[in-house]
Amino acid sequence: MTDSMLRLARRGLCAMLIACMPLVAFAALTADDLAPLAADDFDAKSAAVDKLIANADAPSIAVLNALSDGSLVATDAGRVLIQTDDGNKDPLTNKIVEAPDAQPVTLNNLLRSKVSGAVSGLQLASPDIATRRAAIDELLKNADPSIKPLVDKARAKETDPTLKKRLDTLWATTALHDTDANKRLEAVQLVAARHDLDMNELLRPIVAKNADGTFNEPDERVRAAAQTGIEELNSIQRRGEIVGTIFAGLSLGSVLLLAALGLAITYGLIGVINMAHGEFLMIGAYATYVVQNLVQHYAPGAFNWYPLFAVPVSFAAAAVVGIVLERLVLKHLYGRPLETLLTTFGISLILIQATRTIFGAQNVQVTNPSWMSGGVSIMQNLILPYNRLTILGFSLVVVLLAWVVLTKTRLGLFVRAVTQNRRMAACVGVKTSRVDSYAFAFGAGIAGLGGCALSQIGNIGPDLGQSYIIDSFMTVVLGGVGQLAGTVIGGFGLGLVSKTIEPFWGAVLAKIAVLVLIVLFIQKRPQGMFALKGRSAEV
């Protein structure tokens, strides 16, 4: 006897459990009860498992545990045995039996969850409070009505008040289909009071109608309680969704902002849409990738802090490419905006193909540092990922940086002067051509920072920039040219509007709707929300 108990303990069931098992009341387990387990009929198997649960004596528990860990076997003759290290053992007699033809008993998914529920249900009777708590938690996730007898029993015995409350909830989920309407009502009220969104699944069938138009649930009070519960859950869910949408909109907005900020500066300054602007994002992202690999290779200990190196490097990489581009090509095309458009598109093709040649056409992966992975759960159905939160903060820092550079430095003063009136600025001695170069490099560098941020939330490929150029231009159009505040509001506004429309119409139609809205918007305000005033407005 001691020997077999030890084996049972090894199977994951607390040895103490056996000791406190009810010794009376149920008919002893017979071979006939077990026979269906050896057959192929899953309904009969399910009934047999129900019976094992109701019995809950030592042999039944042993069989359930064996079922749960897959060591239950059956002979062709219909005899059910438990596989042990010593050989196949008969659960009824605890004797080792020779059974060369024994095959494992198969379960389907439904049965498997039922059995695992039952094993947890048996642990409800454990004297160890931690085991009981774990068992309740496990069962709350997925409670099968068949374990109701075990829950009833545990509920009658539980002394710990917090556990008792949770057991009540557990009982409620299993008692939703009780024959007594009062019990059902109590159960529905308990379930609804949990404010757990998963409970919707349990409540919805109660108010549903059958095919013939009658209600599933005959009692009106129960239906009303369930309806109230569903409505409460729905409002919780809606609240979560609204906050989630706002966050997604702000997150998209921060990405758009990073992509568009540099564009707004260069467009405002030289009146040229730089079609290669998206490629500066790509360069920033690849710079981050390279930094990540270098850090991983030479200083694996500092891996968590590689973004600190990546930020300046991506800024510098994009800025250098930007200044080269401006000096070599764009400088010669000032005053011919449409040709500049084509030229910058050509440059973007060259940059994309060059990246493909160097890094390969495949996407490359940048790993988040550990402090950026995961998220904070602020509501049941809402987790805010740390990487998106970081980018949101980062974008605001970049805006602040741009603001400081444009309003507090000499270069910024010149940039604003040239944006407003190039000729007049030149007349008073501003070296406009040099200002152009620096401002272009600065805009490109900001795009590089945007690329660094993008690398934390998505894959990096040579085509990365292509998907952002139109969106970032729309942001600039919306916000007005050369206006920081306009770009900020344009970016966040665009992000929020897109994400608000998306749940109703899908991403593609949302994009189209946003575009139509922008075309209509520029009917009213062709210069964007924050137009430059005075003569410079008409260039």
Partner: protein, 396 residues
Amino acid sequence: MTTPNVSANLDVAPQPDEQARRAGFALGLPPRAALLPRSGWIALIAFVIAMGICVPIAALVLPESSTFHLSAYSMTLVGKLMCYAIGALALDLVWGYCGILSLGHALFFALGGYAMGMYLMRSIGREGNYQSDLPDFMVFLDWHKLPWYWQGTEHLWYALLLVILVPGILAWVFGFFTFRSRVKGVYLSIITQAMTFAAMLLFYRNETGFGGNNGFTDFKRIAGFPITSASTRTVLFLMTLGVLILAFIAARAIVTSKLGRVVTGVRDGEARLMFLGYSPLAYKLFIWTVSAILCGIAGALYVPQVGIINPNEMSPGNSIEMAIWVAVGGRGTLIGPIIGAFAVNGAKSFFTANFPEYWLFFLGLIFTLVPLLLPNGIMGLIDIALRKKKAGGHSH
């Protein structure tokens, strides 16, 4: 050709003598250029007759072993290039003469193609994989009846009507709203590109009802003739050539007309033109819509020859490539864009066959260097060469 009587706005004083008014009006203008010089007409007619005789013989009569045999591959290739040339011509009308750089012409091209493709899909009949009256992709999506916008597309005449109406109406509506708010320059370019981009996303969706990212393909016949037969190909080829020539003459007629001069005025000094009492909106809309329709027709000719149309055709990159054909050939010349379309696409065929990985570098270089070094394109080069020759002739 209609000549809007816009000059009436100018006359604040009582209407002067009509004769004198005309003379006064014509005073500052150089003489109107001829549609084509006499030698041009002769060359054109000779070319048409020669092609009309040679192509059918080369494609249908000569055996395949002959060096002069026109294979299906080369005929499709040249036919495709001619369609591109029509598109480039259309873009030159708006960019070269009106200063509107459209980055959305691939959309009009594809819309014409899709309208034609709808007819071609319907004419497959029950010979598709699923033996259904519906096009295969609809059966695949488990649709049971045609969407409303597919009604009537089994008739060729209706499809041809759509080829003209769909790009035309879209261009008109889009143009009306953007031109009215005086959006221009790069602003306008990017908005046209965004329009194309949005349309491409829309066409990529299966629910839109145009075959999703596979688009239309596996056509069987056109107007009752098997679409892959040599004679059908020859007819399509000659039709494309005919349309290209007609489009060229029509475009030439537009730009040499009085209306065309106002359009050129919009390009060179819109504000000045407005002070003179013109409203640029109607002129811009006219040239823009004509251009879009022409592009749609090019697309409609393209699809039966190439045998496939999918949303890739309207990708923003394609639109920008069209602009570079015009730039390479020389914008504002009409003949230049045709040359440009052939040159760039010829180079593309050559590169993608021989050095596929360098094509984008080459294309990028064209984009970068042509505006820098060759602002007037190939036609500009020819012009310089001709002028030098003339100057040389004088010195002798």
